[in-house]
Amino acid sequence: MNDRDIEKLAKDCRFELRKEEIGDLHETFRLLETMVRRMDDVLVNDTEEMVSPIEGEIPLPERMIRKSIDPEDVSELSVNASGGFFRVPGRKP
């Protein structure tokens, strides 16, 4: 990952980086890229169901289960510093 790639990520995050901050990041992303390749090694027979938590392990919101709401629809709730709802990672990309 080069400086331009890092600057693009920063643009996505809506902030700017100092030159020395960019320099410090190269090693971080190099290591991360290495580890991502190792993930491919362990995901030999992966399926899409693996993305979702299994009920009972990380509890799905009980209210959704009671009302038979499909958890895949729950993607936009969010909690933030001023209070509000709770965001769960969406089950669909």
């Binding site: 700017e16 991360l32 993930m39 995901l43 709730l77 510093a81 709770f86 990309p93």
Partner: protein, 460 residues
Amino acid sequence: MRIADCRSFEDVCRAYEKMSALNGKLNALITPIPPEENPNGGRLCHVPVLLKDNVSTKGIRTTAACRLLENYVPPFDATIVEKLRAEGAVFLGKTSMDELSMGGSNLTSFTGPVYNPYDFSRIPGGSSGGSAVLTAAGAVPLAIGSDTGDSVRKPASYCGIVGVKPTYGRISRYGIIPYASSLDHVGFFTTAVEDAFLALQILSGKDERDLTTVAPSKHPLPDHIDPSVAGKKILVFQDVLDNTPKQTKILFDRIVTSLKEKGALIEEIRFRKDLLELVLPVYSLIADAEALSNHADLSGVYFGNRVEGTDFEEMLVNTRTAGFGSVAKKRFLIGAYSLSDGGVLFRKARKVRRLLVEEILSRLKDADALVAPSTPKGAPLIAESRAPKRKDSVRIADNHLVLGNLGGFPSMSVPMGLVDDLPVGFSITSNLYDEWAMFAIAKAVEEYTGLCGRTKEGLL
């Protein structure tokens, strides 16, 4: 200092004075709260309590140690604040932490570093370092933290106190400024296992404002600690021990032997090495993606320190550039990387998370707990913490506590003694909702070590 030591409002005031004096050396507070009498009776009547500064407190500044939130005052209390207050607790302050809970050192707060009471040149651990050090120094018997990737248990180990992260969903996160919603847990520090057990009973429960909380009827908490470990099957995490220095292993082995002598069944196990090596990158890709999403609202539009610009986009960039520290920015960048190209890496990490969680579940289904040293040795030097990272094989010993977050397993650290005059902890992780087994083993460890109620004296 124990909860039972606090009997009057005068005790609370004395605690406030001690905390203020200690803070001059530890730099553990962001906002002190002069004590006010709480008219509620309850199990925490006249008990001084500290709150990590990601816990929303109505009318009291809450910053999450982030400059962008330097002057943010929430209009509401977190659920846990309501619960603690209803039981008579008196809040003495908002404690320092790593910015937005992103860190393991408590060096990244805009208020400066927090110092370990056992050695001021060392970190307390993070991100809940402020709460940890003031509990360890004897200022309060109970302090709240949060744990996304070991942020209660690691500081507990480094500061020689009890640190608990219960099962995901036990304690409401409503009003907790988030890091990563699928990994965040409210946790807490005490100096005694019994006090930690009481805290869990008070804090836990279903909350309609946090849809991930569990109903007590579905997964009841025990009402007392099992006094016996006889017959409990305890798994020893050999992969961690392989990378643990000798002195720490000696302490750990003595404790395991004592559990065996009390009738526990001990089994040494190893996990898949290829999966363990991926714990940290899986955690980073998931946590930082969730954090980026959670904190998209830190924009200066509705709240927070705004830095003006010629248009909205420039204001946004100026505000976030000035408002976040380098570590937070780095983690957001990893989050953006994880979510790029439709979130391919994020999904990949979640699949590996599934494999890791299934690996742990397959072992814990026939056992009561998995144990290991919480950290391989005592707290690192501040200078060391700012140095480049160590090689991967050492990281397993440093990062195994994250497994408790990836799977939501209840996990706690209990002091096991000193190595080179620095505290280290004994980590206990149980199956989901099995705080019964976890606390029984913790109590047995505490009885063996004799470290119940121990604080670091002589600081003033």
